[in-house]
Amino acid sequence: MIFTEFRFLAFFLLVFGVHWALSSQRARKAWLLLCSYAFYAAWDGRLLSLIVASTAVDWVAAARIGGSGDARVRRRWLVTSLVVNLGLLATFKYLGFFTESAAELLRWLGFRADLPVLELVLPVGISFYTFQSLSYTLDVHGGRLERSRSPLDFALFVSFFPQLVAGPIVRAVDFLPQLGVRRRLEEVRFRPLLVLFLAGFFKKAVVSDNVAPACDAFFANPGAYDLAGTWFHMALFSLQLYGDFSGYSDMAIACAGMLGYTLRPNFDFPYLASDLTDFWRRWHMSLGTWMRDYLYRPLRARWTAAWGPLAAVVTTMFLGGLWHGAAWHFVAWGLLHGAGLVVVHAWTRGRVAEVGVLRRLVGTAVTYAFVTWSMLFFRAETIGDAWSLTRRAFGGGAPGPRTPGWPALAIVAGLAVAHVLASRRVLARAVERAPDWAFATACGAAFPVLFAAMNGAVQPFIYFQF
C-alpha cells in the first residue's frame, strides 16, 4: 500500500476516524498496532512474522537488560539482540550479496566456486525497523532510556505504520514517552500537517514519478545524450531521489501528526547545503543521527589516534552505503561520501565558521555537483556502469544527439525556485496567515490538480527496497 494510492487514503481515513473516536489511550494504541500490522500485511503477510519476532526479542532483551545490575547479563542480552536483529538483516538482505562476492573472489583466486545462492524475498523496510528496534536495546543498555513496561507500547513503537516501511527512523526516547499521553483532537494543528501532506504528495507523485521515466530512459541509453543532456539527467535523478524519499517522509510525518504523534523532520533542504558535512545534517537526518550516535561516536571513542576521527567517518559511511543496498555500487557511493567528508574536514579543520554569501553560493554549487555526481554510483547497476557514466559526464565518449529542451529546463528551474522559496518559509507563512475559508478552498482545489498531474501508474517508493 503506497501513500499516493487511493486505497491508502481510504485506509488512513478509517484509521483516523476510529482512532479519535476511541476514548481510552490503550484502545487507541491497540487499534494503531492492529492497523500497522494490517498495513504491513498488505505487502506480504508472511513477513509480518519477522517484525513480530524482532519486537519480541528486543522486548525480552531490554527487559532483562533493564532488570539486571549484572554487567555480564546485560551484555549477554545486548549481544542476543544484536545477533538476532543483525542476523535477520544479514540473512534477508545481505546473504546473497556476500555469497556471490565470496564466489567471485574465489574464482578470481583461481578456485572453482559454485556456492549455493538463496533467493530470499527482501522484506519491505527491514533496514528501517531493525535499526529502530535495535536502538531501543542499545539505549536501555547505555542507560539513556528506561525500559518500557508496556509490550503494547513497544510493539507500536516498532511497527507504527506511517514510518514503518521507509522511515524516518524513530528513536524510542522520542516516541515511547508520547504513547503515555492521551491526546485530544483539538490539540492537533491540522493546517501545517495538511500542507506537509500535500507537499509530500507533490514531491512524490508529481515530481519524482514524472521525472522517473526520463531518468530511466537516460540510464538505459546514456550514449544518446550530449554533455548538457548528461548533466541535466543527473540533476533530474537527484530530483527524483529527493522527491521520492523526502516526499514519503513528509507524508509519514503528516500522517503521524494527524494521529497525535510527532516525528522529527527527515530532510532540511539538503541541496542548499553549503558543504558535505552540512549536506549530511540535512539529508535523511534520522539515519544520519542514528549512524552518528551508534556507529561514529563509539568508533571515535575507541580509535583515539590522530587518524581515528577520519577512519571513523569513512567506516561509518562505508556501512551507510551498505545499509542502502547489498551491492558494491552502494558501498562505493558511501565511500565517496566518506572521502568527501574527510576532504571537507581537512579543508575546514573541523571549524564551523560564518562564511560570506559568495563563498556560500560556491560551496552550495560544488556540494550539489558532488552529490549529484555521486548519485551515479547510487543509481547505476554496477561500479563499472557508474564509472563509464562519470567519464561521459566529464567529456569522455562520443556525445549523443539528445540535449535538454527549453520546457524541461524551465520545469527544473521552476522547481529550484520553489525549493528556495520553501526553504525561506514563504508558503508556510502564507498558510499560517490565511483565513480559514481561504485555506479550506485552496486545499480542496489543490488535491484534484495534484491527482491530474501525478503519474497515473503508481511507482513504488525507491527507499522501500532498503
Binding site: 521525472v211 526520463a214 524541461a408 479550506a440 484534484p448 491527482f451 491530474a452 503519474n455 503508481v458
Partner: protein, 345 residues
C-alpha cells in the same frame, strides 16, 4: 468550533468538486492509444465516400479485418458496404462500450452498420491490471456498476471478489478524478514520453484503420498443441451442457446497452464471433435467447477450417495477412447474407 469545521469541510468539498469538474472539461479524455486518431479518420475519410460500416473490437479485430477485402466480398455476394476498422488494442467488451458512447456523441453521417466483436465479456477475477490506462479508460459509472455485479456473482471466494471489486472501484475513482491526465505533457516536456507512434500505424495504409500482421506463419513447438487442436477442444467444450444458459443479468444489460447505443445512431448492431481462442459463450447464449438479434459466427474450426490452419495464424492470438484476407472474405460473405435477409444493403 464544530460549526466552523463543518463550514470549512463544506467549502473544501465544493472546491474539490469544482476543481475536478474544471479539469475534466479542460483536459483530454482517457484514450486507449489510437482511439481518437481512428475516430477522426472514421468521421472524416481521407478520400472517397463516407464510411457506412464500422467494426469495433480488440487488436484481434484491428489486425484481422481488412476493409478492402471485406467490402469486395460483400459486393461479390450482392451486398454493399464501405467499411472502417475500429479495432483498438485492449478494447474488449467494456472498451467497445466506451468507444461506442464517444461515437454516438457525434455519429458519422451515413453510418448504417456497426459490427462488434466483444470477445469475453468478463475475463477473470484474477486479471491484475487495475492501473493500466486500458483498464481505467472504460471505467465509467454504468460499466463499473455492471462489472461490480458481475464480480459479486462470480464463482470465487469473497476475498477474491473483494480484491477484484476494489480494483474496479479504484480504477473508477482514477477515471472520475482525472488521475494522470495532465502528467503526459509534463513527461513529454521532460523528454521522457515515448514519441507518439505515427498516425499511419492507426489509420492504416488505406486510411481504413486496418494494419496487417505481416511476415510469418505460426510456429508451434512439438510439445504445444496446434491451433486447430486447441480450437477443436474449444468446440467440444461448447457442446458441454454447462455452456448453455451462460448469459447473466449483467451480460444481458451490457448487450442491451450496446444495442441501444448503436440504434440511437440509426445503425444496425451486428455481433461477431471471431476466430480466437477467447470464449464467446455469453454472446452465443444472448443470441440464442434473442437478446442479440444478429450474430455472425466464425468461431467453428469445422465450418471454417481455413481460418484455423497454421498458415493463417501469426500466433495463437492473431491471424496473419493470409488469415486476415480469409477472415475478411468469410465475414463479408456472412454480412452480405445478413443484408439480404434484412431487405438489402
Amino acid at each position: 468550533m464544530r460549526r466552523r469545521l463543518v463550514r470549512c469541510l463544506a467549502l473544501a468539498a465544493a472546491a474539490f468538486a469544482a476543481s475536478t469538474w474544471a479539469l475534466r472539461t479542460a483536459l483530454p479524455p482517457f484514450d486507449l492509444p489510437g482511439t481518437s486518431i481512428k475516430l477522426e479518420a472514421l468521421r472524416e475519410p481521407a478520400s472517397g465516400e463516407p464510411f457506412d460500416t464500422v467494426m469495433l473490437g480488440t487488436s484481434r479485430t484491428w489486425y484481422a479485418l481488412d476493409p478492402a477485402a471485406f467490402d469486395a466480398a460483400v459486393a461479390r455476394h450482392g451486398g454493399r458496404s464501405r467499411t472502417f476498422n475500429l479495432g483498438v488494442q485492449g478494447q474488449a467488451a467494456m472498451g467497445c462500450w466506451q468507444t461506442l458512447a464517444r461515437l454516438a456523441d457525434d455519429p458519422p453521417p451515413g453510418l448504417r452498420w456497426v459490427l462488434l466483436d466483444p470477445e469475453a465479456l468478463f475475463r477473470s477475477l484474477r486479471d491484475r491490471q487495475p492501473l493500466s490506462r486500458g483498464t481505467i479508460g472504460w471505467h465509467f459509472p454504468h460499466a463499473t456498476w455492471v462489472l461490480l455485479r458481475l464480480v459479486s456473482h462470480a464463482d470465487a471466494t469473497w476475498i477474491e471478489k473483494a480484491e477484484a471489486g476494489s480494483r474496479h472501484l479504484h480504477s473508477f475513482l482514477y477515471n472520475l478524478l482525472n488521475v494522470g491526465l495532465a502528467a503526459e505533457p509534463i513527461r513529454a516536456a521532460l523528454g521522457a514520453a515515448e514519441p507518439p507512434p505515427p498516425e499511419r500505424r492507426y489509420r492504416g495504409q488505406a486510411d481504413d484503420g486496418f494494419v496487417p500482421m505481416r511476415g510469418r506463419a505460426a510456429h508451434f513447438s512439438p510439445g504445444q498443441p496446434s491451433w486447430a487442436r486447441l480450437q477443436r477442444r474449444r468446440d467440444q467444450l461448447r457442446e458441454d451442457p454447462a455452456y448453455e444458459d451462460t448469459l447473466s443479468d449483467e451480460g444481458r444489460e451490457y448487450f442491451e446497452a450496446i444495442i441501444a447505443l448503436v440504434e440511437s445512431m440509426g445503425a444496425v448492431p451486428v455481433f461477431v464471433c471471431g476466430p480466437s481462442i477467447n470464449s464467446h459463450e455469453e454472446l452465443i447464449d444472448a443470441h440464442a435467447k434473442g437478446v442479440v438479434p444478429h450474430l455472425l459466427r466464425l468461431d467453428r474450426s469445422d465450418l471454417h477450417p481455413g481460418l484455423y490452419a497454421n498458415d493463417a495464424r501469426f500466433d495463437h492470438s492473431y491471424v496473419n495477412e493470409v488469415g486476415a484476407r480469409r477472415y475478411s472474405e468469410a465475414l463479408g460473405e456472412l454480412f452480405a447474407e445478413l443484408q439480404r435477409e434484412l431487405g438489402g444493403p
